[in-house]
Structures are given as C-alpha cells and as structure tokens.
Amino acid sequence: MTGPDREPTGDGLEVLLFAGLAEAVGRSRLRVEPPLPDTVGALAARLREEWPGLSRATFRTAVNQRYAADESPVRPGDELALIPPVSGG
C-alpha cells in the first residue's frame, strides 16, 4: 500500500508521526536508513534511541495502515506509523 504523501525511500523507510508525538519530536516524518531492523519492535527501539522525544513516549505501531505487533516484519517500502494514544470521537 502506498500512502498519498509518501516519496520513494529506496532501501530505507519513512515513519509517520502524529499529534503530540509529532510535536514532541518536532517533525511529522522520520527517515530510517538501511540496514533496516527486522521487526516493528526493533525499529521502534531504534527510534526511541535516536529521538529523545520518543524515548519515553507511549505509542502503538502501524504497518501499511494496520496496527502491527512488535514481532511483525518490516520491509523496505512499508508505510510505518507511530500512533500515540487516540482521542477521536
């Protein structure tokens, strides 16, 4: 699945951020350069190390617009997103 506002990322990945998480990091997308971690959980751990605004943040992770478990695989070209606690409705 390709999001409407994504650009080709080669062997890397872009990660979408939203709401308070985007404000805490100061950006709404992050680039992850290869080599990519194998799993969602490993990728989230790497982002928490690289970005202080994420280190203690609460978020779920989505791959290709579906919530994904930590052990889900990550592949180049996937649409990743960090989902802070939601408050719709």
């Binding site: 409407p4 979408l16 939203f18 308070g20 719709g88």
Partner: protein, 136 residues
Amino acid sequence: MIAVTQEPIDVDAVLRAVEGPSEGAVALFLGRVRDHARGREVERLDYEAYGGMAEAEMTALAETARREHGAAKVALVHRVGRLEIGDVAVAVAVSSAHRPEAFAACRWLIDTLKERVPIWKKERYEDGEEWIAEHP
C-alpha cells in the same frame, strides 16, 4: 458511508445512508464539541487523523458491526480540522430490523472507534492547548 472529512457532517445524509424497507430501527450517535472537559473550559478543538488508516479502521469496524453485532447498515463519519463548540465531530448510524441490535451495534461502534481509530484532538483553552491522549 465511511468518511473522514474536513467538511461539516451532513447528518441527514448519514441517516439516509442506513435507510431500507426492512430496517425498522435506526440508532444514531452524535458526538458534539463540548464547552468543557476535564474540569476546564474549552474554546474549540482541532482534530487530526491518520486519514487512510482511520478510514480503513472504520471500514473494518463497520464490517464487524454487521457480522457480529446485528447491524444491517452502518454509516461512520468523523470530522477533522478546526471545530467550534456545538459542532458535530462524529456521527455513527446503524439500522437493523429491530432496536436491540441497532442500539448495541451503535454503542459498540462509537466505543471501539474511540479506542482504535487513529484520530486525535487538541483542546484549546483561553490560556493554552493540549493534545488529549485517551486510549493508549
């Protein structure tokens, strides 16, 4: 009808979307912007959505409501952007032959939408603003 939209929600259209000659019961829930929350006076809200995923989740919820909760037809619309007090932020409509299923599915849909769908609200107060984190 499943949508995340910047426009004011057309409640008539939401209700028309669940009409049918065999559906004798319609339950509608509207979530409107309140002038207070968490003990503070609210001036307005800003909603942000992860649009594609929000619509995908809402579509999945509607399917589950039909398959498991007795809904015949479902409409789900969430507004995003800047909303003023009294504006409708979300509309959930369900029809079914009889009312127990319509009420149960409508309640399940709004509860589950609030838990799962990637939409966030920022409350604006006289002296500041805050992103609300309700469902981790």
